[in-house]
Symmetry: C2
């Protein structure tokens, strides 16, 4: 494939009660897309109430300075295959995927011409990609679909599916601190030690910039879980049991974290995440 002239920036947002409550996050997204004039498309397919979602995002993006922001509603797979839908991406410099249900998003968009256009646009034209809540979870090759594990890691408690495929070797969770999801992420990493666990707090975003810089915007933090060194008996315990987990490495990146490149301890974890963007 063609290498992008300019690699895409990625923004992973941990969800929000209302878009207006995360002005720093949306402002940063507009900036990553190229500034106020950059055409931005808001994909609402994860939601059953796309008009309400857009009613919240339209003024919030406007307040963040975006002057060329439009909704992309997808209510059926036919919508996601219609040339008019795909054409909306032609000029876009940013795609922002709203919250809702990531299973709904994938059921409507997965494998359609719109999905192809998103992948191609991000990979080959360097369109900035952002997602919040369900839209964040769906950014990966793999995504969490449901499950709690609220109090402890628990074998079999969390289900996965296929996401949009823009970020590789990771599993993204959102509303992370607010919903006490550390054990859900540990559960996912225990079963998938090859995937970087990425937990993002509400109103907060992890930004992966095209030049390799990382930063965290918003009031909360981003938690990374590295299972590559994991020793576990997960394969031998029954469903519903807590697995033995030794040597899980955890990283907390609070708001304001701004790293020109991932430090050595994060590099082998994060480098593969971006590989899917650049091929």
């Amino acid at each position: 494939m063609n290498r992008p002239a300019k690699p895409a920036a990625v923004m992973i947002v941990g969800g929000t009660e209302a878009p207006a409550e995360a002005p720093d996050v949306l402002g940063r997204f507009v900036e990553l897309c190229g500034g106020p004039a950059a055409p931005i498309v808001v994909l609402t397919a994860a939601s059953t109430v796309p008009d309400e979602v857009w009613d919240a995002y339209r003024p919030a993006f406007a307040a963040a300075g975006a002057r060329a922001c439009q909704a992309l509603h997808v209510r059926t797979r036919d919508d996601a295959s219609a040339p008019a839908t795909v054409a909306k991406l032609a000029e876009a410099r940013g795609i922002f995927i709203s919250g809702g249900d990531q299973k709904r998003l994938m059921a409507l968009v997965g494998g359609t011409p719109l999905h192809d256009a998103i992948r191609t646009g991000v990979r080959q034209q360097g369109i900035c990609i952002g997602g919040t809540s369900a839209g964040a979870s769906a950014l990966g090759v793999h995504m969490v679909t449901e499950g709690r594990a609220e109090f402890s890691p628990e074998k079999g408690a969390v289900a996965m599916g296929a996401g949009l495929g823009l970020l590789a070797q990771c599993i993204i969770d959102q509303h992370f601190s607010q919903r006490h999801r550390i054990n859900r992420l540990l559960t996912l990493v225990a079963a998938n030690p090859d995937l970087a666990g990425i937990g993002v707090d509400e109103d907060t975003a992890l930004v992966l910039a095209p030049d390799g810089a990382i930063d965290v915007v918003g009031p909360g933090a981003v938690t990374l879980v590295d299972g590559r060194h994991l020793q576990t008996n997960l394969a031998d315990v029954g469903a519903g049991h807590i697995p033995l987990m030794l040597d899980v490495r955890v990283h907390v990146l609070p708001t304001g974290t701004a790293l020109a490149r991932p430090p050595d301890v994060l590099l082998p974890l994060l480098q593969p995440v971006l590989a899917a963007l650049n091929h």
Copy 2:
């Protein structure tokens, strides 16, 4: 000092709603003390309602097989200095410290002849020591006294004090999963990377046997947090902020974990914990 003929066993219990709900834990404690005939003392000093505590523990220990279990109520520092109080330890093979408030426990017992007798008995006579909830927190040289950090690690959110001093280089937290205390423990370890964070779930116990074996009894798990490799900006952020934390190593030991010795990845973390018992 004299080396104990038989080093002490240690049982760290994560609290319980009612002692009768943790029969495995109490049964194991009786066994560690030497069996049903072993004299066991239940220290209720952490509680403002010691009679009620004893009313719950007396039948629970009896159901666990203990035939020589007695209460040790300490309502004042004078109680903790009285020869009759100290004498109760003379024949004991086990000391079990109830829940309540660890600050109350230390305020009543710290520095008294009873405290000396506990230390000496455990270190030199190999008396088995157990503690639950507040009684677990107080086992260490250092103990958590209060603070939440419920959602994220938070500088300054958790306070510490001096404990009974039986376990070194650790900080013990209890009701761990049930009260979502992972962030409280991360907060403590961020500020004290030299201390092993030990989080114990309710009705669950970490057993450190005299021969170096480790096991976990009860329905839950024990979570160990290793901050020795930590990179953090804690020193530079203000109180109330989330610190950057890189490379915190987390270990989850579920019920049924039974290790003849700590695996290599835990050995440097746990060995210093027991050092205070053996000098």
